[in-house]
Symmetry: C2
Subunit: 460 residues, 2 copies
């Protein structure tokens, strides 16, 4: 499903004709996410005009689906009164996300909130960035274990006016400490005269307010929940995390990995809206670091200048040899990063992976080495002058170099994610370009040393 | 949260002492996902013994959390009677996933099902792989628009015994065609004497049974839902998709991207459990293709053998130059793949991206070129004999080559994902190693052509 091109063209016409009822009807008739998408296609003024026509609750809900850039310009176009209405009616987790995105106006915007909402917003923004506290909502329903089911249902019905998610509720003791997590289905099915404490309940699953968002994603995935309560250090329930925010976080984490794997910083804005000078600055950082790393290849090559002078033929195969090391290293690092992301492999498995990579590296190196040797043999048959009388020895050099370089690339690529995780970094930073850079320098040393050993007395 | 090491050690002791009550209590006391994880740590026999102690419903639910390999061996260890019990009690979406994983036993396992379950299982397996039909469950509640709220609530309560998800229900007409999607909260809050048709309802969001799972992930993300109904070609409701399966699919899609980006096939089994010969075969495919691609570097180098012979100094910078092209290409492709994954960029944006990459490429190339020139100038000051009297011209060659190679790398890297998507492939296949291979051959041609132009009459 996606929005209709016609709708985008309709709204400006409606505005021109002052047919405001039509705009309201159009926007309310769409799912909120589509209404938000439609608004984002309008000019800032058209957007503000249309938005002001919406009933308050719908406005707040549609606002939550608008992206951060448009949210900011819309809030500014609306004026303080309307802006205050929206901000107070927003759900608190989405509000935290919005305020995070515009730090320079956050104080101004906070001032627009009711005292109660202000307290909530400040509390949520007080949790560390990227923590569960920053993604939770404080609007949830809890019931007491000593209540009857009848009383609990009355309470839930009562609270449902203000709370968006009621299909999972926590039960707590009289100090608000978490005791159980119940599905509305089970409450529904229970005898109204029985007590909450008699409900079926798995041991309550919870997140701590200081847990990382990555941990939240893993927990949701593992336990297949839609809502998980959040507790503070005293096990008191302070909020809930809902699966829609988790799905969003999971997608962003995955996109972050893609950026890492290409050795660029994670862009903060959509690609086409990032000013070019900023994009160049972001890319230049890693590119320069990689470039400086690669400079060691020039230094290393310097040591073998004599060999190259004597046997220029060696230089012909240089790009082939070193890129094979980089490619096998990229494969190994991708396999390990992926296995870590899926929790198939932990830090302590490094030695198992290391042993397996030795066999894989030698196996793959032999395959490439054989192809490399065959290529030289065939070319020698076709053009006997190309590699001269020593073609066989050159082939042997290529064969053994490829085994060495692929083995080294596989080991380095597989171990780098472990090393990064051990040092507390994201293993996904072991991107192909970094692996290739590390492997290039060593790869060419391996190549020339193998060549020097085998060709001594003949070509060298 | 994770399971306790002590629990893993306890179970074998309990089995030895024939203390079966203790095992049952331990497993039931854990969240199902943890009980499943614990079982997977046991030997196949211990696992089957422990599993048989569980009450039927708990057994089916815990079974759903066990990974496919262990599921298969467990089912075989259980014997037909117990296996049939589990398979019939499983939720149908998880059963489809399980049957997908063991195609060679699927027929045998299908035979164990009750006729009704058999029909459902065959129906679901009849949908194309990777379609919404393969991830949906047919257990859902629908209510009729002409019912009263009171009647609807009675119906939901009644169905809740068999249906896991009741917090969102569809309303349908008398031919089971989708009319609305309602949250249990709204039904709760409505006047029991009013009718279902009076409930607040956004236009119903739905998935088609033939939609791709990727589309399902995008829809869940965009509209923040926990349940979306699935309709067939006649708009009749045939099932629902729940967010937990979507989160799982989203994670797997992301992991697939990681594998692609390292130029390996997506492994089907956990890394450490994949037999090495299969892993080597999987990796060898792409590695050989990349190797053959890189062979063209040797061919291209052959054309410049004379130049290298005359000015060996040129070969020293070769790895540096061509790797810079590969690195900038990896960055561009990662940025474009990421933007496509987040739906920031569509096919028609290619020309905008192309124009922006021209500027980025020249900008980044100039930065690297300047550093490269500076390095030669500084080294010349330190070791005047290194590059000889023509150091300045060599520096100029490096400067312009880097601009050319980085520009070319950026353009090729940015356009490859567009090309792949245009041809119907996954743009994430534009992995760093492929980009690097394409760029290496062209990069060295650019380098030697620039060198030949600038150094003609001096070094060459």
């Amino acid at each position: 499903m996606s929005i209709d091109q016609k709708h985008i063209e309709d709204i400006p016409l409606f505005i021109e004709n002052r047919d405001f009822a039509a705009i309201r009807q159009l926007l309310i008739g769409l799912p909120h996410a589509d209404a938000a998408e439609l608004l984002q296609h309008l000019s800032p003024v058209q957007m503000a005009v249309s938005f002001r026509l919406l009933p308050k609750t719908a406005a707040a809900e549609i606002f939550e689906y608008i992206d951060a850039d448009h949210q900011e310009s819309l809030i500014r176009a609306l004026g303080d009164n309307d802006a205050a209405g929206i901000l107070n009616a927003m759900s608190d987790d989405d509000r935290t996300a919005f305020l995070e995105e515009c730090p320079e106006h956050a104080v101004q915007l906070l001032a627009l909130l009711d005292p109660a909402q202000q307290r909530v917003a400040l509390q949520l923004l007080g949790y560390p960035e990227n923590s569960v506290g920053r993604m939770m909502t404080t609007k949830f329903v809890s019931i007491r274990q000593d209540w009857t089911i009848h009383h609990a249902l009355e309470h839930i019905r009562d609270r449902a006016k203000d709370v968006y998610y009621v299909h999972v509720v926590c039960s707590v003791d009289d100090s608000n400490r978490l005791l159980g997590v119940h599905r509305i289905r089970d409450i529904f099915l229970a005898d109204p005269k029985s007590h909450v404490r008699d409900l079926p309940s798995a041991p309550p699953l919870y997140l701590k307010v200081t847990d990382t968002q990555e941990h939240a994603v893993k927990t949701f995935r593992k336990y297949s929940r839609t809502i998980i309560p959040v507790v503070n250090g005293d096990m008191k329930v302070v909020g809930i995390v809902t699966v829609d925010d988790v799905l969003e976080t999971a997608t962003e984490e995955a996109a972050k990995d893609i950026a890492f794997l290409g050795a660029v910083e994670v862009p903060e804005e959509p690609l086409l809206r990032t000013p070019l000078h900023r994009l160049i600055r972001q890319r230049a950082g890693w590119l320069v670091i990689l470039f400086i790393g690669e400079m060691f290849t020039a230094t290393a090559m310097g040591f073998f200048e004599d060999e190259i002078q004597k046997a220029v033929v060696l230089s012909l195969f240089l790009p082939l040899i070193i890129s094979s090391g980089g490619n096998s290293g990229s494969q190994s690092s991708a396999l390990v990063i992926r296995a870590m992301a899926l929790s198939e492999v932990t830090l302590s498995d490094w030695i198992k992976v290391f042993r397996r990579e030795i066999i894989s590296g030698i196996g793959l190196g032999s395959i490439l080495g054989t192809i490399g040797f065959a290529r030289i043999a065939v070319w020698h048959e076709l053009f006997p002058s190309l590699y001269g009388e020593h073609w066989f020895l050159i082939g042997v050099v290529i064969f053994f170099s490829l085994i060495g370089v692929v083995l080294w690339g596989s080991l380095a690529g597989a171990m780098l994610p472990f090393l990064l995780r051990r040092l507390g970094f994201d293993p996904a930073k072991a991107a192909a370009p970094f692996v290739a850079t590390i492997v290039d320098v060593t790869g060419l040393v391996i190549y020339f040393v193998v060549a020097a050993t085998i060709l001594r007395g003949t070509l060298l």
